[in-house]
Amino acid sequence: MTSLEPNPATGIGNPPADIDSVAQSVVASLKDIRKTYYMGALAVEVLHGISLDFYQGEYVSIMGPSGCGKSTLMNILGCLDKPTEGTYYLGGEDTSEMDDDELSTIRGARLGFIFQSYNLIQQLNVLENIEMPLFYQGYSEQDSHEIAMGLVERVGLEDRIDHKPFELSGGQQQRVAIARALAVDPLIILADEPTGNLDTKSGAEILDLFDELNQQGKTLIMITHSDELAERSPRWVRMLDGKVESDDRRNS
C-alpha cells in the first residue's frame, strides 16, 4: 500500500497514479476556495484557500479537528453556501455564476445529502421522505414511487415504508436518509459525519453500505472525526485550520 505525495502547497489532490487506466473525469473541482464569516465588524476567514479535485467514482473522507472548517467546506460543495473567493466547478459547471434557483436545482438534481442528525421530515413517512427530492425535480408520481420503492429495498427497510421517522432507530433513519440521497442518482453523495449519532454497530452498517455504494460506482465524500473510519476509504483528506494538510490515497 503506497500513498501518493500530497501537495500541501497547492492543496490539489493528485489523481491516482494509474490515471490512464481509469480515464475518469473530475466531478467536482475546488480552486482556491476561501470563506470569510462576518460578525459585525469582525471578519473571520474560516477557509484559507482550498483546492481539491474529486473524481467520478471516488470515495473520499475528509477529516480534521473540530472547528477546522469541514462542514463549511461541505456546505460549499453542497451548494448550500457560496465561497467568498475561489471557484467551484460541479459536473463541469461553474457554480459561482448560478442564481438561487439554479443552485436549488443543482442541489436537488446533482447532489445527495446525508446529515449527522438524519434530517428527515417528521410528518412524512419513509417512502414520502425518499420521494421528496424527486418531487422537486418534477418526476411523475409513478416514477417517484417506483424509484423510492427500489431504494427502500436497497437499504433494507421495505417493511417500514409507512413508518414515520420517530418510529425508527437512528441507524434505520440514516438508511432512509441514504435512500433519499440516492433518489435522484446524484453526481456526488455528501455525508457530514453520518455515523456521528450512531452506536458502533449501526455506524458500521452504514459504512458497509457506503462501501457497497462506492463499489457500484457512486461518488462519495464523507466527513468524519475518526482516523479509523477515514482510512476505510481509498482517499482521505486531512484538514487543519481551514487548510488541506494532507491528501492521501490507499493504493492497494
Partner: protein, 453 residues
C-alpha cells in the same frame, strides 16, 4: 481493487449536461404541495382549529350581519311600498291650538272644525297636472255588530278604486261599485280581522252587520292593511294598525253626518271633519316628490292651522334606502374588522409555523426546493386554512339568519353576493396574510435553517 472501482465502465451513468428539469406536471406538483399543507395542518390540529375559528367568525359575521340589515331594510321599504310608490297620502290632523282652545269653553262642547275638505282635494286635482286619481275617505270610529258579537273599528267611507290605489287585494267577494256609490248603498267590505271577530264560523259574504241602527250587507273581505306611521288621527288607534271596514263614501256621509262624536280622555268630543284621508295618485313616479311639494304649498295657502299631514311613501322609501345603505356600511365595516382580525390570526399562526419548521425548510431547500416552492407550500397552507374557515363561515353565515328568522321572526335576506363576497375575502386574506410568513420562510439561509434546533 481500486482500479476496478474507478473504472468508468463499471456503471454507465446518466450524465446530462444540465440538471434534468422535467417540467413535470404542474398539477401533480400542486397536488403534492397541497397534500403537504394538509398534513401539516392536521399535525397541528388545535392550533389550526383556532386559526380557522377567526376566519369562521369573520365570514359568518359578514354574511349574517348583511342578511339581517338587508332584511330590516327590506321590511322598512316594504311598508312604504305597500302604501304605493305613486301615491301621496294626505291626512287630517287635529291641530294643537284647536285642542287647547276647545277645552277652555263653557257649556256644551262645540264641534271642532278642522282638516281636509273636498274643496282642497278639488283644487289639487284641478291645478296640478299629472294627477290620475284622488281617493278621498272619511274615517269614523264605530261599534259594529253581528248578532251578539261587536267590535270597535274604523269605518272608512271611501271611493270605489280604494283597493287598487293601495294595492290591496280582496280575499273574496268584491268591492262596492259606482252604482252602489251613487245609491248611498248600505254595503260593506270587511277586513280579515273584523271578519274573523264578527264571523268566527260563518262565511260573512251575503250576511249583514249593524252599525248604529243600520244594517249593511257584506259584499267582500279584504286583507288587513299595513300600517302607516303618520296621521293616526282617530282616537284609540294611535299605534296599532287599525282594523277597518269599508263603505261607500256617500253612505258614510248620509248615515253618520258631517259631525261625529268621539271619546276622549276628558269625555265626549264633537268634531267636524269633512275628509280624514285622501290618496292622490300621480301618473309618473318621477314627479311624485315634486307634486308633493306643490300640494304642500296649496294646502299651506288654504289652511290657517296645520291641520293636515302629507306623507309621500316614495320619499320615505328613499330615506329608508339611504339609511339601509348606511346600516350595511356599518355592518360591513364591523364584519370586515372581524375578518381582518381573523387574517392577523392566520399571519400569527403562519409565522409561528415558519419558525417552528425552520429545520424542515432547510431540508427541503437542500433537497432541491426553490424559494418559490417554499413560498407556494406555506401560501397554500394559509389559503387552505382561510378557505376551510371560509367554507364553514359561509355555512354558519347562512344558517344564522335562518335561526334569527325562526326565533325572533325577523326578516333576514341572504343575497347570493354576500357568501360569495365573504368567501373571496377570506381566501384573499389567506393570501395577503400568508405572503409575509411564506417569504420569511423562503428567504431563510439554507445552512442556518439546517442548523436550527
Amino acid at each position: 481493487m481500486t482500479d476496478a472501482i474507478l473504472e468508468p465502465t463499471v456503471q454507465p451513468r446518466r450524465r446530462p449536461d444540465r440538471p434534468k428539469l422535467r417540467a413535470g406536471n404542474r398539477l401533480v406538483r400542486f397536488k403534492k404541495i397541497t397534500q403537504v399543507g394538509i398534513k401539516s395542518i392536521y399535525s397541528h390540529g388545535l392550533r389550526s382549529l383556532l386559526t380557522v375559528l377567526g376566519i369562521v367568525i369573520g365570514v359568518a359575521a359578514v354574511i349574517a350581519m348583511l342578511a339581517v340589515s338587508e332584511g330590516a331594510s327590506f321590511e322598512a321599504q316594504q311598508q312604504f311600498r305597500d302604501l304605493g310608490a305613486n301615491n301621496i297620502l294626505l291626512k287630517s290632523v287635529k291641530p294643537a291650538e284647536v285642542e287647547a282652545s276647545s277645552n277652555r269653553g263653557f257649556g256644551p262642547p262645540q264641534a271642532i272644525i278642522y282638516g281636509l275638505t273636498l274643496a282642497d282635494v278639488e283644487t289639487i286635482r284641478s291645478t296640478i297636472p299629472g294627477i290620475s286619481n284622488v281617493i278621498a275617505s272619511r274615517i269614523v270610529k264605530k261599534n259594529v255588530w253581528h248578532l251578539g258579537r261587536s267590535m270597535n273599528t274604523d269605518v272608512v267611507g271611501t271611493a270605489v278604486d280604494y283597493p287598487t290605489s293601495r294595492n290591496y287585494n280582496l280575499r273574496s267577494g268584491r268591492f262596492f261599485s259606482e252604482t252602489e256609490m251613487r245609491d248611498h248603498a248600505n254595503v260593506v267590505v270587511l277586513s280579515d280581522e273584523v271578519a274573523n271577530v264578527l264571523f268566527p264560523i260563518d262565511n260573512p259574504l251575503g250576511l249583514s252587520i249593524k252599525i248604529d241602527s243600520d244594517y249593511y250587507n257584506v259584499i267582500g273581505i279584504m286583507e288587513s292593511e299595513g300600517f302607516s306611521n303618520l296621521g293616526q288621527n282617530q282616537a284609540g288607534s294611535s299605534n296599532a294598525a287599525p282594523s277597518r271596514i269599508y263603505i261607500p263614501f256617500t253612505a258614510s256621509k248620509s248615515r253618520f253626518g258631517e259631525t261625529t262624536t268621539r271619546q276622549t280622555a276628558g269625555g265626549m268630543e264633537r268634531e267636524t271633519v269633512e275628509l280624514h284621508e285622501a290618496i292622490i295618485q300621480v301618473d309618473n313616479q318621477e314627479s311624485v316628490i315634486e307634486v308633493g311639494e306643490i300640494i304642500e304649498q296649496i294646502l299651506a295657502r288654504r289652511h290657517k292651522d296645520i291641520d293636515y299631514a302629507i306623507e309621500i311613501p316614495l320619499a320615505l322609501l328613499r330615506q329608508a334606502e339611504e339609511s339601509a345603505l348606511r346600516d350595511q356600511i356599518v355592518a360591513g365595516a364591523i364584519a370586515g374588522i372581524s375578518l381582518l382580525v381573523g387574517g392577523i390570526g392566520i399571519m400569527n399562526i403562519m409565522l409561528a409555523s415558519v419558525t417552528e419548521r425552520t429545520r424542515e425548510i432547510g431540508i427541503r431547500r437542500a433537497l432541491g426546493a426553490k424559494k418559490r416552492d417554499i413560498i407556494t407550500q406555506f401560501l397554500i397552507e394559509a389559503v387552505i386554512l382561510s378557505g376551510v374557515g371560509g367554507v364553514i363561515g359561509v355555512v354558519l353565515g347562512i344558517a344564522i339568519p335562518f335561526i334569527i328568522s325562526a326565533v325572533w321572526g325577523m326578516t333576514t335576506i341572504v343575497t347570493p353576493v354576500a357568501p360569495l363576497l365573504a368567501f373571496s375575502i377570506s381566501a384573499l386574506i389567506g393570501v395577503v396574510f400568508g405572503i409575509y410568513p411564506s417569504m420569511r420562510a423562503a428567504d431563510m439561509d439554507p445552512v442556518e435553517a439546517l442548523r436550527h434546533e
